[in-house]
């Protein structure tokens, strides 16, 4: 009993003054995801990886708008979005105090323009994602005519791409099958 009293006296106060003073967090602490819409290309990779469906993407093909949204109410701070993001647009910070009176405070949204197909005019992909891919092609060091060819192809929607591509590959296929097609 005496030992216990000695221990209790030795330890003193163990409770922290939180929330009146901040708590000390480990350097690698995973807090709330911080989103940078400037960096985001709306490619939707994070929405596929997100285990609790906190990240969602809605594509409106009529209006040509893609809405990215993050609902912190569902977020489990796992950092899968940070891990898979190709442009570093989302990173986990240290903030974990999310209590709020309004559900809206827990939602982050960003809207992105869609690119229209240069042949049929239908919306098909995020404009920023397309720019990103075109810029990557510039970096790839392809011969100029080859690069121009591919860029033209990328500006078309998948449907038009198929249609324009078929006549071009037809001779190749015929060659492969010795003209039996």
């Amino acid at each position: 009993m005496l030992k216990l009293i000695r221990e209790v006296l030795k330890v003193g106060q163990a409770t922290l003054p939180y929330p009146f003073a901040p708590v000390e967090l480990a350097p690698g602490f995973r807090g709330k995801p911080e989103y940078d819409p400037q960096q985001c290309i709306a490619c939707a990779v994070c929405t596929i990886a997100c285990p609790p469906n906190a990240l969602t993407m809605h594509t409106d093909l009529e209006q040509g708008v893609r809405t990215w949204s993050l609902f912190y109410g569902r977020c489990i701070f796992c950092a899968r979005c940070e891990e898979v993001c190709p442009t570093g647009a989302i990173r986990l910070g240290h903030d974990f105090e999310l209590a709020s009176f309004s559900r809206e405070d827990l939602t982050v949204r960003a809207e992105f323009r869609l690119a229209a197909c240069n042949l049929c005019g239908a919306y098909f992909a995020s404009a920023k994602e397309l720019e990103h891919v075109l810029a990557l092609l510039d970096q790839a060091g392809l011969p100029p005519e080859d690069a121009a060819d591919r860029k033209a192809l990328l500006r078309a929607c998948p449907e038009c791409r198929r249609k324009t591509d078929l006549p071009r590959v037809k001779p190749l296929i015929q060659e492969a099958f010795n003209g039996r097609v």
């Binding site: 216990l4 221990e7 163990a14 690698g28 285990p51 489990i76 701070f77 796992c78 899968r80």
Partner: protein, 581 residues
């Protein structure tokens, strides 16, 4: 972990013995790993095969998985997973230890199978669950009540059948009342004491009914699964393989990482993925960090239930260091979100290693003092010795796991029997005691705490350099295997079958407490009701908390409601019985 043909197959001799004894009833054998085999047997010999393995070859029932394989082979399937460890006549060093899965196919027009429970009591909950989830009737099962499905669930709706329902569907309740029938114990002066539906030790629901004669418990019955979350269905229909690791974390608020490792290893084993050495060590370290905070919590609760609340506060103060350790190593206080299929997501850096080693030394010193103080408390031994006895015979019949089993004289720990991660590469000692009582189980947890500290230390000292994640493998449809982990409360086991659409075809996850609940009834018998909370806490159950207690006097047909707080107070103070007068 890579499966190659040349490796010797551990457990072949059990399969050969079965073939010899049952001849043509043994239809097929398939190896998932060098120490993991699935044997398909003819349905009628299922009970005999399971019984032979269980009692003649030293088998323990780990889990039973039902599976709707109609889209694959036109049948329903049952998988009885046994850890076969050799009988007592075999010399210790010759006992081969493997997981032997007994599989039987049930044609859809038949929809019934001979129950194993009359031969092996450990199967009781599993067969009740298979009936609830798939509508497969176990013929000869003595208990006809539902286990998992609520009483107001519609007849004939079996959630885990592939063609039954969407995971978001919530049928209308069919009745307003709770219709669950508790067992009937009759006799002169027997009184029923219902605890729940909101129950002892943790804040989750479960309905207990104690049958008492005066102060003594004659028998007990319980209804659990009030908060069944349908995780298996959710994983099978909505989530990808990597996403399920994050769901597995959330099976338990304490041993989440153990479930995560069990799930990940089941997939890795099914696909033959070699997990990097360093990742194996990191997993081992984190599993032990989890054991640290879990055991400190239970030791704290042991103090609380014998009325030593200062000790409870002190254990929780020290426990905070284990939580900080988890935060440092994983980025969250709960060792969550660390695994992907193929390894771990975060390495352990030098500063983190140094800090962890320092905290380990502090923890060792502080907990040493606290445990000494706990044992010096005059009433701890008096309150826990010979209380809540789990007789070795009952333990053998019901396959309980973890400290609950090791307290009854069985040296059975999955880390030793089926080593996974890095447990076979660092030296450590297994603790078991033969007191069979609450005291033995508490002391085992104290010993294991210090052993965990040593394991973390040794892993940090000896872990090899290198990558922590294997990538670039392909998923094979319908491959299946087991994953297992010795969580703080005992073996967590996952049986996973991959699908053909980047989703699991079937995921059966079994938490350790599932195997510890059925024998609890025998542990309560013969004790006074003031010891009931203490006994339930000694298995460290994963769910349930009693909100209030109703005392029913069968002879007078009179019910009396006692708040749970009152029963807890009675457990702590041992005076002024709430059911007197």
């Amino acid at each position: 972990m890579l499966l190659t043909e040349e490796k010797p197959k551990i457990g072949q001799k059990y399969v050969d013995a079965l073939r010899q004894q049952f001849g043509w009833s043994i239809l097929e054998e398939a190896w998932q790993a060098p120490d993991q085999v699935t044997v398909t047997v003819e349905l009628n010999s299922l009970p005999s095969v399971v019984e032979t393995l269980y009692y003649q070859h030293g088998g323990w029932l780990s889990v039973v998985a039902g599976n709707d394989e109609r889209p694959i082979n036109g049948h329903f399937a049952l998988y009885y997973v046994l850890s076969v460890e050799g009988n007592e006549q075999t010399p210790q060093h010759e006992r081969e230890k493997c997981y032997l899965v007994v599989r039987s196919l049930i044609p859809p027009r038949q929809m019934e199978f001979p129950a194993v429970t009359p031969r092996v009591p450990a199967a009781i909950w599993y067969e009740r669950e298979v009936r609830d989830m798939f509508g497969l009737q176990p013929i000869g099962l003595p208990d006809e009540r539902r286990l998992v499905l609520p009483d107001d669930w519609p007849e004939g709706l079996y959630p885990l059948r592939k063609d039954s329902m969407d995971y978001r569907y919530r049928p209308e309740p069919t009745t307003e009342d709770e219709t669950y029938e508790f067992i009937d114990v009759e006799g002169e002066g027997i009184v029923q004491v219902p605890l729940g539906p909101l129950h002892i030790t943790s804040d989750e629901p479960g309905h207990f009914r104690l049958y008492v004669d005066g102060e003594y418990i004659v028998d007990a019955d319980y209804r659990l699964f009030y908060v069944h979350r349908g995780m298996e269905k959710l994983a099978e229909t909505r989530m990808t393989y990597d996403q399920v690791t994050f769901l597995a974390d959330r099976i338990c608020g304490i041993c989440g990482y153990a479930h995560n490792v069990a799930y990940s290893t089941s997939i890795e084993r099914a696909l033959g993925i070699a997990v990097p050495e360093r990742a194996q060590y990191i997993r081992t370290i984190l599993l032990e960090v989890e054991r640290l905070h879990s055991h400190l919590l239970n030791l704290g609760l042991a103090c609380h239930f014998v009325g030593f609340d200062t000790g409870f506060m002190q254990f929780f103060r020290v426990r905070e260091k284990a939580m900080k350790m988890a935060e440092l190593l994983t980025g969250t206080r709960k060792t969550y979100g660390m695994n992907l299929i193929g390894g771990v997501r975060r390495d352990i850096l030098k500063e983190e290693r140094v800090q962890t080693l320092q905290w380990i030394q502090e923890l060792r010193r502080e907990v040493n003092e606290l445990v000494a103080m706990l044992l010096d408390t005059p009433n701890i031994v008096q309150r826990t010795q010979d209380i809540g006895r789990l007789e070795p015979k009952v333990a053998r019949d019901y396959s309980p796991v973890g400290p609950t089993l090791r307290g009854s004289g069985f040296a059975r720990d999955i880390r030793v029997i089926h080593p996974y991660c890095a447990y076979d590469r660092v030296p450590w000692t297994l603790t078991y005691k033969d007191g069979c009582d609450v005291l033995a189980r508490t002391l085992i947890r104290a010993d294991e705490f210090f052993e965990s500290l040593s394991v973390v230390e040794r892993c940090l000292d000896t872990m090899p350099e290198g990558p922590v994640l294997t990538e670039g493998f392909r998923y094979k449809p319908y491959a299946y295997a087991l994953g297992y982990v010795e969580a703080p409360r005992g073996e967590d086991i996952h049986w996973s079958m991959l699908g053909d659409n980047q989703k699991l075809y079937r995921w059966r996850c079994r938490a350790s407490s599932y195997n510890n609940w059925p024998p609890l009834r025998y542990m309560l018998r013969g004790n006074t009701i003031s010891d009931a909370p203490l006994i339930v806490a000694s298995i460290d159950p994963c769910y349930s908390c009693t909100e209030r207690v109703t005392v029913v006097d069968v002879r007078k047909k009179k019910a009396q409601v006692v708040p749970y707080k009152e029963l807890e107070r009675y457990c702590i103070e041992k005076k002024d019985s709430p059911i007197k007068g």
